[in-house]
Symmetry: C2
Subunit: 321 residues, 2 copies
């Protein structure tokens, strides 16, 4: 059942204790919103605990300085920033059908929880939690401000992406006016700092970008052999799909990842108006207008040729429209 802010506030106020679940592969927004809810409940004298299927990366520790983990029998189960029970990972089996309150911003939320407070226009779950705090009359202190800001900043690429709402900026302004936090330091740690392996991977990738269609199509092929040479963890390969599109003039950025001897997973990103969902559909795949994918078979050269042909058609459609 979809609920409003007042009902969500009532649920939080009337519970005695809660487990707060975040999604697997945790990011700044689920840890930010989950930890903010933890502080809100603790501030009201209730027991609370944050659970995540995967280990929470160390870079989020600064939000959790005042967090203490303790086991107890929870009265209610809350999910923060979790669009689908499947994303609870190993906690899906235990709690997937027992979530009492879900606080989220994904339009794709499946409604798996008994009560769902979802704001699809919000840039981040943390934006929803902040509005909930307003309704509950809770002012942001330093630890809450760190959580809320981090969730909004990480989900919007530091206010860069299309999902950045006016409200996201307003909340950042309100936090900066009322709470003394080194927001620039948070941004540095979230956006600028990279592991040595990650930096090496990016350098390796940039060196291997291929240019097609007068530079409008950029392509990066990562073979199994290259992956071995790079010596990077799978996490460090995360986001490699964004690299080909960084090149000036690129309209379509493609990443080819070898799966086995003769099959390749293709990720396609569009910078502006080219519809990569249509292009991937030509190749038997699909996705969104600006980010899509497909699976192709053959030698690497055959796969590249197929892709570049399809992209050429896709760009032609776009310019004649």
């Amino acid at each position: 059942m979809k609920i409003d802010f007042n009902t969500a506030a009532d649920i939080l106020k009337s519970c005695g204790s809660a487990y707060i679940l975040t999604h697997q592969s945790p990011d700044g927004d689920c840890i930010g919103s989950g930890t903010a809810l933890y502080y809100i409940l603790r501030g009201m004298g209730k027991k609370a605990r944050v659970l995540c299927s995967d280990e929470i990366p160390k870079k989020f520790d600064f939000m959790r300085r005042e967090y203490t983990d303790e086991e107890f029998e929870p009265e209610i189960i809350i999910a923060a920033d979790v669009a689908d029970a499947k994303l609870l990972g190993r906690y899906n089996e235990i709690y997937g059908d027992k979530v009492d309150l879900c606080i989220d911003h994904h339009i794709s939320n499946t409604g798996y929880a008994k009560n769902t407070l979802v704001c699809p226009d919000a840039s981040a779950a943390c934006e929803v939690v902040y509005e909930l705090m307003k309704v509950m009359g809770i002012a942001a202190d330093e630890k809450l401000a760190k959580c809320i800001y981090t969730g909004i900043a990480t989900d919007t690429g530091c206010f860069r992406y299309e999902n950045t709402t006016a409200r996201a900026h307003e909340i950042a302004a309100e936090l900066k006016k009322t709470v003394k936090v080194n927001f620039a330091k948070i941004n540095r740690e979230m956006f600028d700092v990279k592991s040595r392996g990650r930096l090496k991977m990016e350098a390796f990738a940039v060196d291997r970008i291929e240019y097609y269609l007068e530079g409008k199509c950029t392509l990066l092929a990562v073979t199994s052999k290259m992956r071995e040479e790079m010596e990077v963890t799978p996490a460090e390969l995360d986001g490699i799909e964004g690299i080909p599109l960084q090149v000036e003039g690129a309209e379509v950025g493609i990443t080819i990842k070898q799966r086995d001897e003769t099959s390749y997973k293709i990720s396609m990103r569009s910078a502006n108006d080219v519809n990569v969902s249509d292009i991937c559909a030509m190749l038997g795949g699909g996705g969104h207008v600006k980010a899509a994918g497909c699976l192709l078979h053959g030698t690497l050269d055959e796969v590249k040729e197929q892709i570049v042909d399809a992209v050429k058609k896709g760009i032609e459609v776009c310019t004649t429209e």
Copy 2:
């Protein structure tokens, strides 16, 4: 003479025509604020022209779509985002002592103009121009919004740096609420897109980072020979000083650039609490707490040894304080 917003508004209203000067090596804020002032004056039926000592990079063309260049005899001279007449470049000689109105946000503004509207708390000159628009009752349309947003975004690293004010966020929120502009596209072009040469340079640099003091000190040496190998333009080397500090765990990031056979220009950046101004002072240089520099002589190995010794002392001072 320092003036307030009303006096600045009166000057704009009462002039018949103006040349608007920006600083050399133009960036998003001087082009944004200069072009916004151009549109403001044109909107009041006055003649206006933007002048910059250097060529304006193509990536700023989107702000200048409705700009038409014409020569005329200006009644007044305006400077936008120019802290010192010297920064006018080749226009200093002609107009340096003839600037009637300077609109700026640098605390270091030398007061070279007859009338100076300077707001040192503003994150960008565009923030000052926006407040001036408010005082003059001018609403932001699409072209003004692009200019104002771009200046604020570029000067704050897209709301990342310490100079990002609450007001900067508020202005972004106001623009997003009232004007239909693809701000994400602006951000992509300002922050994500890089030339092939630039990407190659970054990859080259990352591959050559050296680690000292358990990774707390990262160092990148760019010799004359390496610069030749990289085949990059001086503009593409711009900002290379930020690269060593991107590595996780780095407290002090150093860039060494060879000047001639035996002399090296050192740039030092601090991530957190280490005072690099003090460290560079030990080496005969100076600067700011978080960004400083010096000039050293000797072989590259001697220079590196000197630097790492000084950084070691600087880090020790910091941890014992």
